[in-house]
């Protein structure tokens, strides 16, 4: 199953694909931080943690922008993920409750919420 197909599909296939991708992102947003927090062997741990910090929230955001260009999509996904990571971690440090597990959990929650919104919003009207 193609989870993160960036290429625009024909319209009749897009809505179904949108739902599948949103659902996949919600699942990844929940499961990946949990997987990283279990501290599995490398490179699984690094891949899981890096995907939460560098990709998932940004992909959820970039999908909301309906960017057709894969280069812009990828750039936005990476930058937005980094921005979420920076702001979440900094906020937690300011209030004195930072931990990497909590940061990843919040980033996963952001991913799930944004992906859920993306799945619920009907941009066709």
């Amino acid at each position: 199953m193609k989870l993160l197909n960036l290429r625009p599909a024909p319209r009749h296939a897009r809505l179904a694909q949108l739902e599948r991708t949103s659902a996949a992102l919600v699942c990844l947003g929940v499961l990946t931080p949990w997987l990283a927090a279990m501290q599995p062997v490398q490179p699984i741990r690094a891949l899981a943690a890096a995907s939460v910090m560098l990709l998932l929230p940004g992909i959820a955001v970039a999908r909301l922008l309906r960017l057709g260009d894969p280069i812009l999509f990828l750039a936005v996904a990476l930058a937005a993920s980094l921005a979420f990571t920076v702001l979440t971690a900094t906020g937690l440090m300011y209030v004195g409750i930072w931990s990497w597990q909590l940061t990843l959990t919040l980033l996963g929650a952001v991913t799930a919420v944004l992906a859920g919104i993306s799945g619920l919003i009907d941009d066709s009207t």
Partner: protein
């Protein structure tokens, strides 16, 4: 007339894009849009090729493409492999370049030849990224494998700040990092969560950062053209011209990525065009209606929200980049190509708010705005071109490379203007960073930083004259024939020379900004040798220290302590005075390394003989103890004078 006709064709295609209805409709008509884009691309290629007086060829050569892709990755790999053997202790004042084996330079030529052979024709979508990956490895891979530990002392310090913050230290009175902390909690999270060795993260940061920047540059440049060559030649030049070495593990690297992505979104999603305006540059503001390039208001609002989020992350992470962002956005508003005229104001407000509250501790006594004390030119240029003959030669290469790219850009600007390119956005984004030069006070580094900020858009123009040297592909009855040899060779040679200059410039300080295991071992031993809270002194800023116990010690350098007088005797007296001053913590602990000596010598502060006399003077001081020694470093303890004279008191 041909140019006008082509421009009209491009305008029609562009209008077809912007008039294609709202975003939803465009999504639904993806195929048509991509066809329009394709038409536009071909139109622009044709226009460029006509300008270069050559035919365009869109027929594929799949076998050649595979060879080019493999060659690119092979050249990148060979370059990294050949640089991995270099030991900083064996390097001279010329840095890494003179020590590289011939195979490295063969890889430089081979990679540029591969790139040139991908120009002037249609190629598969994977080929250009493969070529860029090859260049990334060739130019930036050596940064990751040079020496026996991560290079650039500042990246060690940044690991230390992240480590301190992870351990609950969040005190803005410590230094500037704790006033713009955003990058460091993110780094701490990354290191802790991935479980990767921090030094490996720092070592490979340049390659990763520049890869991310390349995405941002390509995304931004696609706002101006869809022509593959008009995007990848500037990207190639950007990678070559970026000798500035701000790509290590740093807030600047993150800030530059955020800046590029914000600009890309502003140009492409929040862009505006002026319809019905009067002709001519002088009238651009007087008449016409500003209309959004993207009709879908929902997507524009979401993009605006994302841009604000990115801006907050940027403002919290770096003190300089948000200023350049606000100015660049204001420039786009002034030429009426932004649909969000309040965006620069909002970014400015975020910046002011950050300075008023989280960063206020640091700003007392450290003004951001205002001229350098030494004057702009002295602080940014003449004051930096000093030191040993080899080091001055390296500075010459850096200046020559920068001027070469700027000169190409100047030619490109003239050609673009003559060809009727009246899209003011790239001009604005290339120029605006330089307006910051006399305004911002950044410790003599502003020229380097503004060069980096403007480089993507300077490279956009610099690529234009080079595009005229693209090979002409001959048609044959069976398909695409061979390219014209002369143009391909000239362009290959030119790009290879620029690449060689880039390697020379970027790694010109490798003798002292790269480290050996012995130096790392000595710096690591400091924590066990010096009492907590005491003052640690290293010979120079080029020291692999502070990656742990960042807030546990006060760290100073001979370079700063002896700034007024580097004469060995005077410098020994200064250190003695500091040891007396720190009597309450038992004196100071002094680390002298191979790289420290090289740094002082290359920057003209202390010759090798003076350094030897200085170290002898330290050893002769009463109470000095040698605590640690190895091949490349010594650690001394300087005790306070037990019987200070009256004058010393």
């Amino acid at each position: 007339m041909t140019d006008i006709a082509d421009r009209r064709a491009s305008d029609v295609a562009a209008r077809q894009l912007s008039d294609a209805g709202d975003r939803r409709a465009r999504d639904a008509e993806d195929q048509q849009v991509s066809d329009v884009a394709e038409d536009r691309q071909v139109t622009e290629v044709v226009a460029d090729r006509r300008a270069a007086d050559g035919p365009v060829n869109t027929r594929a050569r799949p076998r050649l493409d595979v060879v080019i892709g493999v060659l690119a990755l092979l050249c990148g790999g060979v370059a990294v492999w050949s640089a991995a053997g270099a030991n900083p202790a064996d390097l001279g004042d010329g840095g890494l370049a003179p020590s590289l084996p011939p195979v490295f330079w063969v890889a430089v030529v081979g990679l540029n030849l591969a790139f040139v052979l991908s120009l002037g024709r249609r190629v598969p979508s994977w080929l250009s990224p493969a070529l860029v990956t090859g260049l990334l490895l060739l130019l930036y891979g050596p940064a990751s494998v040079l020496g026996e530990a991560p290079r650039i002392a500042v990246s060690w310090r940044h690991l230390g700040v992240a480590d301190a913050m992870a351990n609950g230290v969040f005190d803005p009175s410590i230094d500037v990092y704790f006033n713009w902390p955003g990058f460091f909690p993110g780094l701490a999270t990354f290191i802790e969560a991935t479980g990767l060795p921090p030094l490996q993260v720092a070592a490979w940061a340049p390659v990763v950062n520049v890869a991310l920047w390349s995405l941002g540059v390509a995304a931004a440049l696609r706002a101006f053209t869809r022509d593959k060559d008009a995007i990848f030649i500037p990207l190639w030049l950007f990678l070559i011209g970026n000798w500035i070495d701000q790509d290590y593990l740093s807030p600047q690297a993150l800030g530059f990525l955020l800046l590029l992505v914000i600009l890309a979104l502003t140009l492409r999603v929040l862009g505006a065009t002026v319809q019905g305006g009067a002709a001519g540059l002088r009238n651009f503001w007087r008449a016409g209606t500003r209309v959004p390039e993207l009709d879908d208001g929902r997507v524009r609002r979401r993009t605006l929200a994302l841009v604000l989020l990115l801006s907050v992350a940027l403002v919290s992470s770096h003190q300089l980049t948000p200023v350049v962002l606000a100015a660049s956005l204001a420039g786009l508003v002034l030429v009426r190509r932004s649909w969000a005229p309040l965006l620069p104001v909002i970014v400015g407000l975020l910046l002011v708010l950050w300075m008023l509250y989280p960063a206020s501790t640091y700003l007392v006594g450290h003004p951001m705005f205002g001229q350098e004390e030494a004057g702009v030119v002295q602080a940014n240029l003449t004051g930096r071109v000093a030191g040993s003959p080899g080091h001055i030669a390296i500075q010459g290469v850096r200046i020559a490379l920068t001027i070469a790219v700027w000169a190409l850009a100047a030619v490109g600007v003239a050609q673009s203007w003559r060809a009727g390119l009246r899209d003011l956005r790239p001009y604005v984004l290339a120029i605006v960073p330089f307006l910051m030069l006399p305004v911002l006070n950044y410790g003599g580094e502003m020229l380097l930083r503004v060069t980096l900020f403007s480089l993507p858009f300077v490279a956009f123009f610099a690529a234009r004259p080079l595009a005229g040297l693209r090979p002409r592909w001959r048609h044959t009855a069976s398909g695409l024939g061979r390219p014209g040899v002369a143009r391909a060779l000239v362009l290959t040679l030119l790009l290879s020379v620029l690449c060689a200059a880039s390697v020379t410039a970027k790694y010109g300080n490798a003798r002292f900004d790269s480290f050996t295991d012995a130096e790392v071992q000595a710096a690591g031993a400091l924590a066990g040798l010096a009492p907590a809270g005491s003052v640690l002194v290293a010979g120079a800023t080029a020291t692999p220290w502070a990656s742990q116990d960042y807030d546990g010690y006060t760290r100073r350098t001979v370079q700063s302590i002896c700034e007024a007088d580097f004469a060995p005797d005077a410098c020994v007296r200064s250190l003695r005075g500091l040891a007396d001053h720190e009597a309450s913590t038992g004196g100071i602990t002094l680390l002298l390394t191979r790289g420290n000596q090289a740094s002082l010598e290359m920057q003209g502060q202390m010759s090798d003989d003076d350094f030897a006399r200085f170290e002898e003077g330290i050893q002769d001081l009463p109470g000095t103890k040698l605590l640690f020694t190895n091949r490349d470093a010594r650690v001394y303890h300087l005790a306070p004078d037990p019987a200070p004279t009256g004058s010393e008191l």
